[in-house]
């Protein structure tokens, strides 16, 4: 369903929300995924539950803007308010179906760097670190990352693996190294959606957002990007997805600033 104009962030939120299946236990990260969870709950996933590392489980999304997962509206009406280690216990048991992780740098095998650009002892950029990202990447059943699509962010090989995807891309890398969860299933960017083969490995271009081209995506990607047999156009946000996004982010704090 084609719609009125939307921002790249609104499209990313809509695409991310579609990764949530009804009944999923979702480990909700910071920023855009908070909105994606709210959109999914109000549409196709009314039985999803959200888990927040601060120590919360929710069903209904908070009926107010959230700057962080620990804001009071996210606590009021929670299913469970507890300590972080209890939330991590569920993920360690393999009970988290889907996690979201924000990435600064990602490589062709879905490894994320949110720690150091350059040598850790003398970094050119010190990024904030893992937070719960590494835990989600290793322990959740499947995960998705969202990031701005720039050549300096989608790199051949990340300089530091904070949150492992499929490692060096060799068969069964995760299993051989004892990683519990299944790994990344999608990288949602400002230009496109990359996906991974069922058994893991190298990312491929699955769909391109309206207004962008395959050539543009490839030139903004730091490796020779594989293409799906049928690269499609990413479905635009529907009117109901957009209205949900704008209800939970009325000022455009997450979805309308540069």
């Amino acid at each position: 369903m084609a719609t009125s104009s939307h921002t790249p962030q609104e499209l990313m939120v809509a695409v991310a929300s579609r990764e949530i299946r009804d009944g999923d236990l979702v480990f909700v990260g910071m920023r855009l995924p908070i909105l994606a969870y709210a959109v999914a709950r109000n549409a196709h996933a009314p039985n999803a539950r959200g888990l927040f590392e601060v120590g919360l489980m929710r069903d209904q999304p908070a009926e107010a803007f959230l700057g962080t997962m620990g804001d009071p509206p996210n606590v009021a009406g929670a299913l469970w308010a507890t300590r972080m280690s209890n939330v991590m216990a569920l993920m360690a048991q393999g009970s988290v179906d889907l996690g979201f992780i924000g990435g600064a740098e990602v490589d062709r095998f879905g490894n994320l760097n949110t720690s150091y650009v350059g040598e850790p002892a003398h970094p050119t950029v010190k990024l904030p670190g893992s937070g719960g990202g590494a835990d989600i990447a290793i322990l959740s059943r499947r995960w998705v990352t969202l990031m701005s699509h720039e050549r300096r962010r989608l790199v051949e090989k990340v300089s530091f693996v904070t949150s492992p995807g499929f490692g060096d891309g060799s068969p069964h890398w995760r299993k051989r190294n004892g990683l519990l969860g299944g790994g990344p299933v999608a990288i949602i960017t400002t230009l496109c959606v990359l996906r991974f083969p069922e058994l893991g490995g190298e990312a491929y271009l699955a769909s391109v957002h309206s207004g962008h081209t395959v050539d543009e995506v490839r030139s903004e990607t730091g490796w020779d990007l594989k293409l799906a047999d049928d690269v499609s156009e990413t479905p635009a946000p529907t009117e109901s997805e957009l209205s949900a996004i704008r209800r939970f982010d009325p000022e455009g704090f997450w979805t309308r600033s540069a």
Partner: protein, 292 residues
């Protein structure tokens, strides 16, 4: 006890200090600012996600080492003082011991339970294992070495003068940090009678035997939220992020909100508290501790 005295007595130079333990809420900013005013040096800071307070302490030159999962500004992104310290050694070089949220929790539980380490499946395959010597992989597990803070600083909704604490909302790693630390400094929105705290002992996250000081400090967590009391001051975090991009901007911010402010009461006088105060209250049902 007054904040200045609590910090002077219980947080000497070279201390290992755990704070910001409930992640985004209940961050003891007032206590952190007093550490800066008193010119503390060579601290090791321990925490999960730190929302701006670690960045402020690093920029002020108080910190030698950070043992944490994340240092930045949650709604705004990067921590500029943290970046300058790691990238340019400004104002001082900084040692970083990276953790994930799960592993820093385990490090504190290990100390709480008085064991050298705890095993986990998280961090397998992560380069965090390469850079943090306190993490070791063996036999398909990661062994997380204990982290024992000298002091944990915790802001809570209410406490009594004898160190019985009531905190509610998501607790992050507050309980394990309180149990692991040698002692705890509590700052609170309300100082209440013991009959209030002892009416609900399940609400107490760590025992009074750990609590070295209780500081009555309303607004002591601003700009972080306090369930039932204050909303998060998003604009304040944004202003800090923008001004701390440069050293001069950071120092001007520090002068306005920390160095040029004698105490928290004066600070709160500069904040529009009415727009931040929670106005829609949602009381829980009391529970019955009936015994006979």
């Amino acid at each position: 006890m007054a904040m200045a005295e609590a910090i002077r007595r219980f947080v000497p130079d070279h201390s290992t200090v755990a704070l910001g333990l409930a992640l985004e809420p209940l961050i003891p900013f007032a206590a952190g600012h007093e550490l800066i005013r008193q010119g503390r040096r060579d601290l090791e800071l321990v925490g999960p996600i730190s929302d701006a307070l670690f960045d402020q302490l690093i920029g002020a030159g108080c910190v030698r080492r950070v043992t944490a999962a994340w240092v930045g500004n949650v709604s705004e992104g990067l921590g500029h003082c943290y970046r300058r310290a790691c990238e340019e050694r400004i104002p001082l070089p900084l040692e970083v011991r990276d953790h994930s949220n799960f592993s820093i929790s385990l490090a504190l539980w290990a100390a709480a339970w008085n064991v050298p380490s705890l095993p986990t499946r998280t961090l397998l395959g992560s380069d965090i294992l390469r850079t943090n010597p306190a993490l070791a992989a063996a036999d398909g597990l990661v062994h997380v070495a204990a982290v024992r803070p000298d002091v944990a600083i915790v802001h809570v909704q209410r406490a009594d003068e004898l160190g019985r604490v009531h905190a509610w909302g998501p607790m992050g790693i507050t309980e394990e940090a309180g149990l692991a630390a040698d002692r705890v400094i509590v700052t609170c929105e309300e100082l209440v009678d013991p009959s209030v705290t002892l009416s609900d002992p399940n609400r107490i996250p760590f025992p009074e035997t750990k609590v070295a000081a209780v500081v009555y400090e309303p607004g002591g967590a601003h700009p972080s939220p306090v369930q039932g009391f204050f909303k998060r001051d998003h604009a304040f975090y944004r202003d800090y992020a923008e001004r701390s991009r440069s050293v001069d901007g950071y120092l001007a911010w520090l002068e306005q909100w920390v160095m040029g402010v004698p105490d928290r009461a004066t600070y709160m006088g500069q904040v529009d508290t009415e727009s931040l105060r929670v106005s829609r209250h949602r009381m829980s049902e009391p529970v019955d501790y009936g015994d006979e």
